[in-house]
């Protein structure tokens, strides 16, 4: 290899960079958060795959089948709750633009309310199922059903906890870069959980009814 083929023609280009490098902290954190959500999406992918495998007659071990444990009308109210929560949260992030702290906090409080409604409905559903003897340790099918739905429920609880943490931060720090980054990433998280719930609703509840 000819060492001189690498020779630069003309004046020496700059070797060092002065001034700000354009690393936007919000963009960097948001990319990182998208990547985290990709891993979360894969967790749900694995759980949906497990549900698909275990949603067979032989996996019910003579216990309840899907149409006996899913209640699509009741779950429809859960769907409405989760979508209302996302709407409220999205309105809260709209208020960031006008630096309206009160608007942001009001939106988050409404989002928390609907989130808690969702969790409450799910809890009531689980209590009913336990009452008729449909427990996770009854059969492979019910294991998959409960773990899938409960994993989503845990994510919802985590989102609510996150909102509860952000409320005092908004009061204390105002809408600074760190808080806004968290608010925007939480919006991503919250909308993602709603999308997962839509998949759960279609794949578990609606499909379970028609089987």
């Amino acid at each position: 290899m000819d060492a001189h083929s690498n020779r630069h023609e003309g004046p020496r280009p700059p070797l060092w960079h002065y001034g700000e490098t354009e690393h936007d902290p919000i963009a960097t954190k948001t990319l990182g958060f998208w990547l985290y959500m990709l891993s979360d999406a894969l967790i749900f992918a694995g759980l949906f795959a497990a549900y698909g495998v275990l949603d067979q007659t032989m996996n019910t071990a003579d216990g309840p089948v899907a149409s006996q444990v899913v209640h699509p009308i009741a779950a429809f109210w859960q769907t409405l709750a989760v979508l209302s929560s996302v709407l409220a949260y999205s309105l809260a992030t709209v208020a960031i633009r006008t630096n309206n702290r009160g608007g942001v906090m009001l939106g988050i409080c409404v989002a928390i309310f609907f989130g808690v409604v969702f969790i409450g409905l799910e809890f009531a559903d689980f209590v009913d199922l336990f009452a008729i003897g449909a427990t996770p340790d009854r059969s492979g099918f019910l294991s998959a059903f409960f773990i899938l739905v409960a994993t989503h429920g845990l994510h919802m609880m985590f989102g609510i906890l996150w909102m509860l943490v952000l409320l005092p931060q908004i009061v204390r720090f105002g809408l600074n870069t760190a808080v806004v980054t968290r608010l925007l990433n939480l919006r991503l998280f919250w909308q993602f959980q709603a999308s997962v719930w839509v998949c759960v609703y279609i794949f578990v509840y609606l499909r379970g009814t028609i089987q």
Partner: protein, 689 residues
């Protein structure tokens, strides 16, 4: 909901009783004594030289990507040593337990290890080598080198980087704890169901295995997020995608695999955990469980994991071979394309790990063809390296020797791999040690490149070269050991020896087993030369001090800054103009040009939070293993509380002024990562704790 267990359980100590400690087993007593002596040998000098504060402040609380990388590599090397001892014990057991007349020692009928103990040893050998030796070392190399190669000041999320490290360390600590408290899994490192279910594995061994992997793989996932974000978002000006060094490309692709594969492992193990703790029926033999679900989920992670390991190894080869051939890498674009082709195909080959487990002929055919396809991009890479060496000015330094050795192993391992990709052949040799020899060739190729990488980049991090004389002895003994052990093992596979045998029934295997044991002796010699290499290098470090580019022919950006790398990496962010920036600057006579004016730079502060999170993660894992619910619950609560509290105390970092930078750059004494604090590192204001 909670599974009712047989045996004692108390609210305070869970399943833990005094009889859980295997103090009557002489092998474990010896292991404990050895570990204790090694621990004292590490801790005593720290105490003697009064370096406790230094170690704590500057290392354990560090958020510096280089220090974290070095700690990853140290963890990996220690675990590799333990995994090697396990391997040595396996080989010794087999050579002493061949044939009905073979003697029995200790409590064993044949050999010196009773079956359950032997099973634990091969399970921990696999778990340690793959997840706690090779994975941390490659993660560590990526941590050290990638930010330097792309001209970044640090990782995108320095504190999360430290959390990843401590989670990995605590996973390894759980495996170590299993040696002395309770037992380890005896169900193989893959943990096939339903063997790992409670009725068949009622002890805590499987729980140790499960939680150790679970905790460390969370660390790996976080690290993958960090590295991808760093490469995408933190590149120096001018570091376009077509100028990215190959090692950075392979680290990027490997972490994309890591990010997408490790969550599946998390699911597979979490469902197993649900079976063992909540009594669900995902993988049970009855009640509607499906044990193939586990096999599929595990290998959907397991196969990408193989490429997760091998791709950075290919990256190291792509850095070392051009440097010591004094030529640019042949076929940069095809190398990148081949890397991503391998990463992509890695997702559609998992079933070849269980061709014989009842999939139909069409399914087997699909996965067979997909597996053979991997050979094409890998072949492209091999030819690229060969063409790089062709008519190059090759110097056989130690890293180059390891690289050439790795190419040889890649050939043997790859060709036997293509053989095994054929289901007809696989039906004949499956579960035999032929398969074991094949994948050991592949994993040892990774180990070879690891040693190439460590020796190659060591002077960059520490400012002096490792001793070449002992390094070459280390290479030759290790290389001969590898060929001796695994050539014999291929032969034994054809002679019909199946894997994981604590007793071998055929005395005719004896000659080959003795050859294998001889190879193990060569390995032991190589361990001696490794330590001698480290010792001699440390002793003669003043003689072997080196400048920015110790090899003289390096090509990429990391060699532009000082050796050892100062804590701020580059005094001024470099402007990248070409692929192989350093080679370009050298050819134009600009390699030694240093920046003349400086700017203030901003650095993150050290933090205690990551290691405390790590300690609580250990507490959580240990509590779950022994079902000490208060400990697990409190640890989990503490982790969440710590994360919330630290989100209320933002890290303002600290700024080094231009004047301080000028002084730091004017220093002549080495000021690398082993030096004491150069500037006031204000970590004291941690308000937590």
């Amino acid at each position: 909901m909670l599974v009712h267990l047989q045996g004692a359980w108390s609210p305070l100590f869970g399943r833990l009783t005094l009889s859980s400690i295997p103090y009557s087993n002489p092998i474990i007593i010896f292991a404990f004594a050895f570990t204790a002596i090694a621990g004292v040998a590490v801790v005593a000098p720290v105490l003697y030289y009064r370096k406790v504060g230094y170690i704590f402040r500057e290392w354990l609380c560090s958020v510096d990507h280089k220090k974290i990388g070095v700690m990853y590599i140290i963890l990996g090397l220690v675990m590799m040593f333990r995994g090697f001892v396990d391997g040595m014990m396996i080989r010794t057991q087999q050579v002493t337990a061949d044939g009905p007349n073979s003697p029995g020692f200790l409590e064993a009928q044949h050999g010196y290890l009773p079956p359950s103990h032997f099973d634990q040893i091969y399970s921990s050998h696999g778990t340690l080598m793959i997840l706690f030796a090779v994975t941390p070392i490659l993660t560590g190399l990526g941590n050290v080198i990638v930010p330097l190669q792309i001209g970044a000041r640090d990782m995108a999320f320095p504190r999360m980087n430290a959390i990843s490290l401590w989670l990995t360390v605590m996973g390894a600590m759980l495996v170590m704890a299993s040696l002395f408290i309770g037992d380890f899994s005896d169900a193989g490192w893959v943990g096939l169901t339903p063997l790992t279910e409670l009725p068949y594995s009622p002890s805590v061994g499987v729980d140790y295995w499960m939680w150790a992997i679970q905790i460390s793989s969370i660390g790996t996932t976080l690290n993958a997020i960090n590295i991808i974000t760093t490469i995408v978002g933190m590149r120096a000006p001018g570091m376009r995608w077509d100028r990215l060094p190959i090692f950075t490309w392979t680290t990027l692709s490997t972490n994309i695999i890591g990010l997408t594969a490790f969550p599946i492992l998390g699911v597979a193990l979490a469902l197993l955990g649900a079976d063992r703790y909540l009594g669900t029926h995902f993988y049970t033999a009855g009640m509607g469980g499906n044990l193939m679900l586990y096999t599929d989920l595990f290998w959907i992670w397991g196969h990408p994991e193989v490429y997760f390991l091998v791709l950075p190894a290919f990256g190291i080869l792509s850095e070392v071979i051009p440097t010591f051939s004094e030529k640019p890498l042949f076929g940069y674009i095809t190398m990148v394309a081949a890397t991503f082709a391998i990463a992509g195909i890695s997702w559609s080959v998992w079933l070849h790990h269980f061709f014989t487990m009842g999939a139909g002929p069409w399914v087997n055919t699909f996965f067979s063809v997909a597996t053979m396809l991997v050979g094409i991009p890998t072949g492209v890479k091999v030819f690229n390296w060969l063409f790089t060496m062709y008519r190059g000015r090759i110097t056989y330094t130690t890293p180059m020797l390891w690289s050439v050795g790795a190419l040889l192993l890649l050939l043997v391992g790859g060709l036997t791999g293509v053989m095994l990709a054929n289901p007809a052949i696989d039906y004949t040799v499956h579960n035999s040690v032929f398969v074991i020899a094949h994948f050991h060739c592949m994993v040892l190729l990774i180990a070879f490149t690891i040693f190439a990488g460590i020796i190659y980049w060591f002077p960059k991090v520490f400012g002096f070269k490792l001793d070449e004389h002992n390094g070459k002895r280390f290479f030759w003994t290790f290389c001969l050991g590898t060929t001796t052990v695994f050539t014999a093992m291929f032969a034994l596979g054809f002679e019909g020896e199946t894997r994981r045998l604590d007793y071998l029934y055929d005395p005719q295997w004896m000659p080959m087993l003795v050859i294998e044991e001889f190879g193990i002796a060569l390995y032991c010699l190589s361990v001696y030369y490794f330590f001698k290499m480290i010792y001699v290098s440390l002793r003669d470090r003043e003689k072997n001090r080196c400048g920015a580019d110790p090899w003289g022919t390096a090509r990429t950006l990391e060699w532009l800054t000082h050796s050892p790398v100062p804590f701020y990496n580059f005094a001024v962010t470099p402007q990248v103009n070409e692929l192989d920036e350093l080679a370009w600057r050298r050819d134009n006579g600009w390699a030694d040009m240093a920046p003349e004016t400086f700017e203030p730079i901003h650095m993150p502060k050290n933090s205690m939070v990551p290691i405390i999170i790590g300690i609580f993660a250990f507490g959580f894992g240990f509590g779950m293993v022994w079902r000490i619910w208060w400990m697990a619950g409190f640890s989990l609560f503490a982790i969440i509380a710590l994360v919330i509290i630290s989100s209320f105390t933002p890290d303002p970092g600290y700024t080094i002024t231009a004047e301080e930078m000028r002084k730091l750059e004017a220093r002549t004494d080495p000021m690398g990562i082993v030096a004491d604090s150069h500037a006031p590192l204000p970590m004291a204001e941690e308000r937590i704790v």
